[in-house]
């Protein structure tokens, strides 16, 4: 197992380097210029100077190397310093990856955006799972029952209607017509007491609902398939032949096995939680990571796009690994294999 993890980690390194290179190169190719966003009044020499100060104008490989250094050395050091309040080396002159649009260090922007993304997108993922798993189980256990048919239908609807539409519908119903829920997410809201907690719940309700519906739709289909797969296995018959209660058969024997593929699927989906849900964030102005990315893309804020994209890639690779490890942990055949 450890061998396996080490091996996977070792393989992850070249993959990530390749990805970082592709991302860097592709975005570098894009016809963009940080000074493009500057006022037209700035003379050419000043533009050149700004380009220099942002580290452009160097040959490609130098810029790439510098970006790698910033990403892998400088920023982690800064994070460590912030976390422990210590100073490592000369933190003042350490080059940081800076956003072109706001001129702020990219990492600061990301950290600022993380809480709401994790709250809304993460919670919706969690709720999606909590809805999906029981629905999947019941659907499979009572295959072709009306519950199963309905569940199938609803989850397919959830899957097929774009979130920009469900989101708008939710706003029209719950904000405009009923006036129950706010349509705009307040990222600065702090939960201090029961009332503010209630407000937080209310403002998260719609984006979470819209996203959870989408997530639940997908996961419940997988859950159903996995349970169906296992219900027909011989060991289920063995368990029944031992005189176990149906509940025990289902929850201990079937569920354990069915969760193996689903848990890994869920783990693989977690990077998308960090990536935010661009459309939903945009509609409800959650202004999380997804919104940050799309604004950066539209504003051609290349360093921000590069960093975010690469961060996602790291997360995807990491959670791929975690999914595989989880698979091993849950499945003794692999754990001891």
């Amino acid at each position: 197992m450890t061998h396996y993890i080490v091996r996977r980690l070792l393989f992850a390194v070249p993959t990530l380097i390749a990805i970082s290179f592709i991302l860097f190169a592709l975005l570098d190719l894009a016809p963009n210029d940080p000074t493009g966003q500057l006022p037209l009044t700035i003379p050419a020499e000043a533009r050149e100077q700004i380009r220099e100060s942002l580290g452009l104008g160097q040959p490609f490989h130098i810029r790439y190397a510098r970006w790698m250094e910033q990403f892998f050395v400088n920023e982690p050091l800064n994070l460590i310093e912030q976390a422990f309040g210590i100073e490592i080396g000369d933190s003042e002159s350490r080059l940081r990856v800076r956003s072109w649009a706001t001129r702020s260090p990219v990492v600061d922007l990301i950290i600022e955006r993380l809480p709401q993304t994790l709250w809304v997108v993460g919670l919706s993922y969690l709720i999606g799972i909590l809805i999906a798993v029981p629905i999947g189980i019941v659907s499979a256990y009572r295959q072709y029952s009306w519950f199963d048919q309905l569940g199938t239908f609803v989850s397919m609807i959830g899957f097929s209607v774009p979130t920009f539409f469900t989101g708008l519908l939710a706003i029209i119903v719950f904000s405009v017509a009923l006036q129950w829920l706010p349509s705009i997410y307040d990222t600065t809201h702090r939960v201090t007491d029961l009332a503010s907690f209630w407000l937080q719940i209310k403002q998260m309700a719609m984006p979470v609902m819209v996203l959870a519906l989408f997530n639940a739709a997908q996961i419940s289909r997988f859950m159903r398939a996995a349970v169906l797969d296992n219900l027909t296995q011989d060991y289920v018959r063995t368990a029944r032949a031992k005189g176990l209660r149906e509940r025990v058969v289902l929850f201990i024997h079937v569920l354990r096995n069915s969760l193996i593929p689903v848990v890994t699927l869920i783990a693989l989906g977690i990077p998308t939680v960090f990536g935010g849900a661009i459309i939903t964030e945009k509609i409800f102005r959650v202004n999380g990571i997804g919104e940050l990315l799309i604004t950066a893309i539209q504003g051609a804020d290349i360093p921000l796009v590069q960093t975010l994209s690469f961060l996602f890639a790291v997360l995807i690779v990491l959670f791929n690994l975690i999914a595989d490890v989880l698979y091993g942990v849950l499945d003794p055949r692999i754990r001891y294999g």
């Binding site: 393989f11 993959t15 990530l16 390749a18 990805i19 592709i22 991302l23 592709l26 975005l27 190719l29 894009a30 016809p31 963009n32 199938t152 397919m156 609807i157 899957f159 097929s160 209607v161 774009p162 920009f164 539409f165 708008l168 519908l169 029209i172 990536g275 661009i278 459309i279 990315l293 799309i294 893309i297 539209q298 796009v305 590069q306 975010l308 994209s309 996602f312 890639a313 995807i316 690779v317 791929n320």
Partner: protein
């Protein structure tokens, strides 16, 4: 009891009567799947409407009748008009052509790529590691920034070469296709890995069948069922992705109707002219839904275990 080899010449009872081919079996099983059948019916209806509809409802989807803007459903405009007086039905029909074309073409690209990579990786041990790392890498690549860059890089050259509409069509289709082949590749590879250990493949080798033929004759037909299922999912996925692209302003030009674009443009008018969002929304959902049901049915029908005894 004298038993000659021909003693068992009686036909097996299953095979008595009418001859059934493989596809016949698939069709029979498919026919018994109510959901799939309904899905196929709806899908064919949509496809027909989109293909033939504009010949019957001959209003130009681009024609602006500013005096007739924001109208509700009427005989002249069965689905009403938008805020520029364009006929919604004509736009939904025209948009359907694009959306379905995007769905099918993107699915086709993804399928060809995925199958190719999957089969090569599964069949040739030497290529496996390399191709699977490539697949992993594509899975780890964040799509959105990539998409944007590709659009920025190639929009103009494609536009110059194929005109604004075909150019962006090729681009969108290509992007969706190239970013959604990985799942297919993984599934196909897994199946091929298992298939190449099956005895009928060993049998083919022992006969002296060439590798190319082993792949085309023995491997490919047997990975058909996951491929078919990927295909149906791929269509649905491409249609949804295209609408998301429209939402983010990365898709087709605004005067170029697609279902996703119509839904997006109509969203602001939801309380003025609800028909504007109702119909494209319904069209997307129904298509995706029907294609999903078809996929479910195909999977059941193509899997001999599920096909029943």
């Amino acid at each position: 009891m004298p038993a000659t080899p021909s003693g068992s010449l009686t036909a097996p009872s299953r095979a008595t009567g009418r001859h059934r081919s493989l596809w016949m079996d698939v069709w029979l099983a498919f026919r018994n799947h109510t959901g799939a059948l309904a899905g196929a019916g709806v899908f064919i209806a949509i496809a027909l409407a989109v293909a033939v509809g504009p010949l019957i409802h001959t209003v130009d989807p681009h024609y602006l009748d500013i005096l007739a803007k924001n109208q509700g459903p009427s005989l002249k405009h069965p689905m009403g008009t938008d805020n520029l007086g364009r006929d919604t039905l004509a736009q939904v029909l025209a948009g359907g052509r694009i959306s379905l074309a995007v769905g099918f073409t993107a699915m086709f690209i993804a399928l060809v790529l995925g199958t190719l990579v999957g089969v090569l990786a599964g069949f040739f041990r030497g290529l496996d590691g390399l191709l699977m790392r490539l697949t992993d890498m594509f899975l780890a690549l964040p799509l959105l920034p990539l998409l944007l860059v590709v659009i920025m890089l190639f929009r103009d050259s494609l536009r110059a070469a194929f005109g604004p509409e075909t150019g962006i069509f090729l681009l969108v289709v290509f992007i969706i296709g190239i970013t959604s082949w990985m799942q297919t590749a993984r599934i196909v590879r897994g199946d091929v890995l298992a298939l190449r250990e099956r005895e009928f493949v060993t049998a083919a080798r022992s006969i002296g069948t060439r590798r190319r033929r082993i792949i085309t004759r023995h491997i490919l037909p047997n990975v058909l069922s996951p491929i078919m299922v990927s295909a149906t999912l791929g269509i649905a996925n491409a249609i949804i992705t295209e609408s998301a692209l429209s939402f983010l302003g990365l898709g087709f030009p605004p005067d170029f109707p697609t279902w996703g674009r119509l839904l997006f443009d109509g969203a602001n008018f939801i309380s003025v002219t609800p028909a504007r969002v109702l119909w494209p929304g319904l069209a997307i959902s129904l298509t995706v839904l029907s294609v999903n049901y078809i996929g479910d049915g195909l999977r059941d029908a193509l899997d001999p275990r599920l096909r029943g005894a």
